[in-house]
């Protein structure tokens, strides 16, 4: 089936060339990072995780969201999703690939990465994260490839695929729960030390992933003869609406607990993020952009009249993708380190090199996504013909 990715229009090859160009630039800056160390990033002794780990966290959510298609289709026989479930699975594959790469580029000693396997350490949440992420990657690529192959031949998928599909449902929940536990189990990091961290992660995941998928569906429909279906896209929009409302609700719960109890440690990070602390407030404009975009996105998705207009729907989906990215892909990780254990505010901003390496990893993810989608859409066009 892979040969389908080798034949494409001029636009397809231009897009591939663009991605390869961005990957090349990112790789050059990664070589600089290998030579000079992580000092070329904006991270430091106080904010010791930054943009890379933030992207990782956000993308685990995107990956987990495939379950929002798999569950209705396979468990509840919601046939409308039949056409696009493969798009969700392949999005998960590309998202997990980016997650792994973002961890890799964040390591100080990347060539020792196999130490995690050579010295397995079950008391470290990172060990479990490695297991659930690699497992989820395999599940989705195997399930996606097997079902697509069967569809091409016009037969039912092999019998062994079904159990894997059922397994992938709780597995999707596990990847984001375990990723939340990376943060939620650390004493002394008040922003992260919250029992609803995993729930927040899942809520924002089920908003951001399907929102991204809506945009992808609209693009696929424009560039190919495959139509994911109006109703499928509308159902996705409803999923995004309610997941996003839940996500915002959970954030408000954090605000209540912190500010009604008045415990300084619980308030500080939120104060820093949304209002500024001790005269520092680099992230304040970003966090309010998150608030505005979240509100706009929810409003557009909730009102049926607006949701049904596809250009408004695209805008709403984009608003949700960007706002969840600011909240989780920036605020949550960086905010957790501010103030530092000495109650000092040391701010963080990514450097140019860091941004270009980040962009390079995103481009690798989109390259994987493009190839997988090209194959999937090619098969769909072939069987429809």
């Amino acid at each position: 089936m892979l040969e389908k990715a080798l034949r494409g229009s001029r636009g397809y090859w231009l897009w591939i060339a663009l991605l390869l160009g961005i990957i090349g630039v990112g790789f050059l800056f990664y070589l600089q990072q290998l030579r000079d160390g992580l000092t070329i990033t904006g991270m430091g002794r106080d904010v010791s995780w930054g943009f890379y780990v933030a992207q990782f966290t956000y993308l685990v959510g995107v990956a987990a969201s495939a379950v929002m298609l798999v569950m209705p289709y396979y468990l509840h026989d919601y046939k409308t999703f039949g056409k696009i479930v493969i798009l969700g699975e392949f999005l998960a594959v590309s998202a997990v690939s980016m997650c792994v790469l973002f961890i890799f580029v964040d390591l100080g000693q990347p060539f020792r990465v196999m130490n995690v396997v050579l010295h397995p350490t079950p008391n470290s949440v990172m060990f479990w994260d490695m297991i659930v992420l690699s497992g989820y990657f395999l599940l989705n690529i195997i399930i996606g490839w097997a079902t697509l192959g069967a569809e091409r031949k016009g037969v039912q998928p092999a019998g062994w695929v079904k159990p894997l599909i059922y397994l992938s449902i709780p597995w999707a929940v596990s990847i984001h729960t375990v990723t939340a536990f990376l943060y939620a189990g650390l004493p002394g990091r008040h922003l992260w030390l919250t029992a609803i961290m995993a729930a927040r992660f899942l809520a924002s995941a089920f908003a951001s992933g399907p929102a991204l998928l809506i945009i992808l569906c609209l693009i696929v429909r424009r560039v190919s003869r495959f139509d994911p279906g109006k109703e499928a896209i509308q159902t996705l929009a409803k999923i995004v609406a309610y997941a996003m409302i839940t996500n915002v609700f959970f954030l408000l719960l954090e605000f209540f607990t912190a500010f009604y109890s008045g415990i300084p440690g619980h308030m500080h990070s939120l104060q820093y993020l949304f209002f500024g602390l001790d005269g520092h407030g680099k992230l304040v404009p970003f966090m309010w952009t998150f608030v505005v975009l979240a509100a706009v996105g929810i409003a557009l998705l909730l009102v049926p009249k607006w949701r049904r207009q596809e250009n408004l729907l695209a805008a709403a989906a984009a608003a949700v993708v960007v706002s969840t990215w600011i909240d989780k892909g920036m605020g949550l990780v960086v905010g957790g380190f501010i103030p530092n254990p000495f109650e000092r505010v040391v701010e963080y901003a990514p450097t140019g090199a860091e941004l270009l390496i980040t962009l390079g990893v995103w481009a690798i993810g989109f390259l994987i996504l493009t190839i997988l989608y090209k194959v999937a859409v090619g098969v769909k066009e072939e069987t429809a013909a």
């Binding site: 000693q109 990465v113 995690v116 002394g188 254990p341």
Partner: protein, 270 residues
């Protein structure tokens, strides 16, 4: 999609080459990055041993000597701690913090006057329940069973910095750049190198190790030895006849953030 044996061998050969080649390419990119020879600290007969090493810092003796940096300078010199000259990349094993920052939850406007300004000596607390050890995915940071010291294998550390997120005391430092390198003016980050202790690679985390290398030779930690004012006392807190236990019995002491359940082994007399 037929796929004969010849083709398979061709692809397998190419992939193997790619695998080998990439390794070689990485060698090219970072030439001469030999790792520090691992030094093992086999315990001699004269080695100092304890069930649980601990430190008492008598601020009554330390505070009047506000300008004194003997303990820090000695520690950083013998452990080859580099000076990068900027706070972002800074590496420190033992340093000073104002009371309000070392004990942020105890801070009050009406605190005894001398506590407002004077700096407290801080270092790794060698917790009985260390979060850094709990989170490390490779056991590069570990707690020694025999004496409770939390120390590191810097050859195993992958530089993920989970321990830095986990440590509630800010006691861990990462080598953001090569400590064996030079600054823009060509001055080395390590003014002099103590050959008795390894220097580090870039990309690994490090911290105070309670001088495991000196204890193995029967010497007390460098900071304790360096302090001319007797403000630092080191001993076995599990031994009721030890000097530290004697002091703890007679003085009111506090520890940093004990409410987090880490059970720190560094005590302060305020």
């Amino acid at each position: 999609m037929g796929f004969d044996r010849r083709e398979f061998i061709k692809i397998a050969g190419l992939s193997a080459l790619a695998g080998l080649g990439s390794r070689a390419a990485f060698e090219l990119l970072g030439p001469g990055e030999l790792e520090a020879t691992s030094v093992s600290y086999a315990a001699k007969e004269s080695a100092l041993t304890a069930k649980r090493w601990a430190m008492v810092i008598d601020m009554g003796k330390c505070l009047p000597e506000a300008g004194c940096k003997d303990c820090m300078e000695r520690c950083h010199r013998i452990h080859n701690v580099p000076d990068f000259g900027n706070p972002k990349d800074e590496i420190k094993w033992i340093w000073k913090e104002a009371f309000a920052h070392a004990f942020p939850e105890q801070e009050s406007e009406y605190l005894a006057e001398h506590l407002h300004h004077e700096p407290f000596v801080v270092l790794c607390n060698h917790c009985a329940h260390p979060p850094c050890v709990r989170v490390c995915p490779t056991k590069a940071t570990f707690k020694r069973k025999q004496d409770g010291i939390v120390t590191m294998d810097m050859h195993r550390c992958i530089g993920c910095r989970f321990c830095m997120a986990g440590c509630p005391y800010g006691s861990r430092s990462f080598n953001w750049r090569d400590p064996r390198g030079k600054n823009a003016q060509g001055e080395p980050f390590l003014k002099e190198i103590n050959q008795e202790y390894p220097t580090r690679n870039k990309g690994v985390v490090e911290k105070c190790n309670f001088c495991v290398e000196r204890l193995a030779e029967g010497k007390i930690p460098a900071c304790v030895e360096a302090c001319r004012h007797g403000a630092l006392v080191f001993g076995d807190v599990a031994d009721e006849h030890s000097e530290v236990r004697q002091i703890l019995r007679e003085h009111y002491t506090i520890r940093r953030k004990p409410e987090l359940g880490t059970d720190p082994s560094v005590f302060y007399i305020v």
